[in-house]
Symmetry: C2
Subunit: 350 residues, 2 copies
């Protein structure tokens, strides 16, 4: 069990822990001594009808999404009870990095998005007695969890905002994510997931960051040197200072746990492979929000899924930051996302 | 000196060799005992005005482009004298794999696109006495050579068809190609370019093929399983049977020699970095032919360059095969390319 210092509450803020014990996984495996780490903002009202659930993306923690929460923002903690669940593998919830032997590191079981969402459902129902979610939203792998929520628990989810993600991982996305995994494993220090310390695999993690640099934003972003707007001085200053800096402190097995969930993300597991039937279950008012120029969740892929969701609209947010518009490094991106979320929250639903 | 059996005339057809001796490179280095391997089709007429020059792409040889030559095709050997020069690093022209020590393998000097084109110019002028090119065309790195020809020797080039390539490598393309190189070098057997045999680096080459699988075609190609149309049975059957199969027999240093030229391709080296001035030199009637959905030579990048070329037109060929439309695995792609080439050849120029 490696205690990676990156995953600490001084940097990521305090978490609550919901204990799930031995948690049965969709695969048939069991996640032993399961912990679901989460954060909350605001107060649950008496009717328990002011709940927003906001799971996070690959490589993130619950803290990653807190930048969207504020008294003058759509996600207003003075009005809503906002729950930020940590996905398995994020270093706070059960993860390869914090699980004791023999299920630690490279021996951590394979998890599915559906496992995360079932665990989150238990947190909401057992711990808080919540039966209704005013909004579920998430970006990237957070969008995958959002779709899973809307399909698995349609009666609970009143509004959904899957942002720059898909309900079923596309084949192109599958090979992109597999490449992300393969370049980490290409580092001899990886050693089947049993490295001496996380930083020993830093060359693999740097390579993984390089794949992100090619696919994470868009061609035009680099041509216009948009990185200058956020203080970088050269292509490589950005390449290392942004991409490598983000991923380097993380635990390689944790990343691999999350990417594997991403790679096999598929709500049609609920309907024998019928995606249209799965998405047809959604009753939530849904804003499908792709980011323009996204190279692995292209607008077209998101639009095709949106067309299968009964009460949905397509809301494209165009940005040269492409998939990373969610980082809100441009005020315009933040405003466009907020405007859509506000409109969705203001929509009357049954 | 490794004699890779892949580069043999039984498979790639007979080549002529033009000897350039000790060839001074743009970098200041010297390429010793320089050989330019080439093929020709058709007969040079008395006026020497029926010449078409057709350099090839990354990872290819002169044979790669021969599928465009035929009596019922625009590149008709009964009308034209068609020269297919092999770029340095292709395994037939001077390459890391066929150069004797001490300049072999990882010690082979860095080459630029401009070096290739100067060598080709010497072949055409010294060997054949050619002063006029009816058409220069090329795909991908062949397009880069086409642009270099049109900028360096504007008086010679009457028509130009740069297909799915750019005159100056964009920053996004730069990091994509650098990633291609890095994943080869990630293989411990690479050993700074001094591997025991080319196949020892097969894991790096496979990884390199995986990057191609993510960037070489487009998202929609995979979603529609377009690979079924050419006989593959699954995503991985295609991933290995197409991408890995193409690259596996090649010499890693040869690939690296070509990719480095690609990464630094830039006609504005002629004009102190002024791309508009460089492209403004072109007098050839030029059809800039990007392929729709190309992820590393996007139409927009090609269109921006086309706008700087005086006597040019933008001709987009749309295909789910994206950058690999040039393989003509769809008849529609072949026809669209041929139609444009025929129209360009039929255009009257000064």
């Amino acid at each position: 069990m490696i205690d990676n210092t990156y995953y600490n509450e001084a940097d990521h803020g305090p978490h609550e822990i919901f204990k799930l014990g031995d948690f049965p996984l969709n695969s048939g495996d069991t996640l032993r001594g399961t912990k679901l780490a989460y954060k909350t903002h605001g107060v649950l009202n008496d009717k328990k009808d002011n709940v927003i659930l906001f799971p996070h993306m690959y490589s993130g923690t619950s803290k990653s999404m807190e930048m969207f929460i504020g008294p003058d923002r759509p996600l207003d903690p003075e009005k809503y009870f906002i729950i930020l669940p940590g996905q398995f593998g994020n270093g706070f919830s059960s993860s390869p990095s914090n699980t004791p032997p023999p299920f630690n590191m490279g021996a951590f079981p394979d998890i599915q998005i559906g496992d995360d969402v079932r665990a989150q459902h238990r947190l909401l129902t057992e711990k808080f007695g919540i039966t209704e979610l005013r909004l579920v939203l998430g970006w990237s792998m957070g969008a995958e969890q959002t779709y899973e929520w809307a399909v698995a628990y349609p009666d609970m989810v009143k509004r959904a905002a899957p942002i720059a993600g898909t309900a079923k991982t596309t084949p192109h996305d599958f090979i992109f994510v597999r490449l992300l995994e393969d370049v980490i494993k290409s580092d001899p220090a990886w050693n089947g997931g049993f490295y001496t310390e996380p930083d020993a695999v830093h060359v693999g993690i740097r390579r993984h960051a390089q794949v992100w640099s090619v696919m994470g934003v868009c061609q035009e972003f680099y041509k216009r040197e948009t990185w200058r707007e956020v203080g970088f001085s050269s292509l490589d200053d950005f390449n290392r200072g942004f991409w490598e800096n983000w991923f380097l402190p993380m635990d390689p097995n944790n990343l691999m746990c999350m990417s594997r969930k991403w790679r096999y993300g598929d709500v049609s597991l609920h309907t024998g492979g019928d995606l249209k039937a799965a998405l047809g279950r959604i009753t939530a008012k849904t804003f499908v929000m792709p980011f323009g120029n996204d190279m692995f969740f292209p607008t077209q892929d998101c639009a095709e899924e949106q067309a299968m969701i009964p009460n949905s609209e397509l809301r494209v947010v165009d940005s040269l930051w492409a998939h990373f518009a969610m980082f809100c490094l441009s005020d315009k991106d933040r405003q466009a996302i907020d405007d859509n979320l506000q409109e969705l929250l203001d929509t009357t639903v049954k």
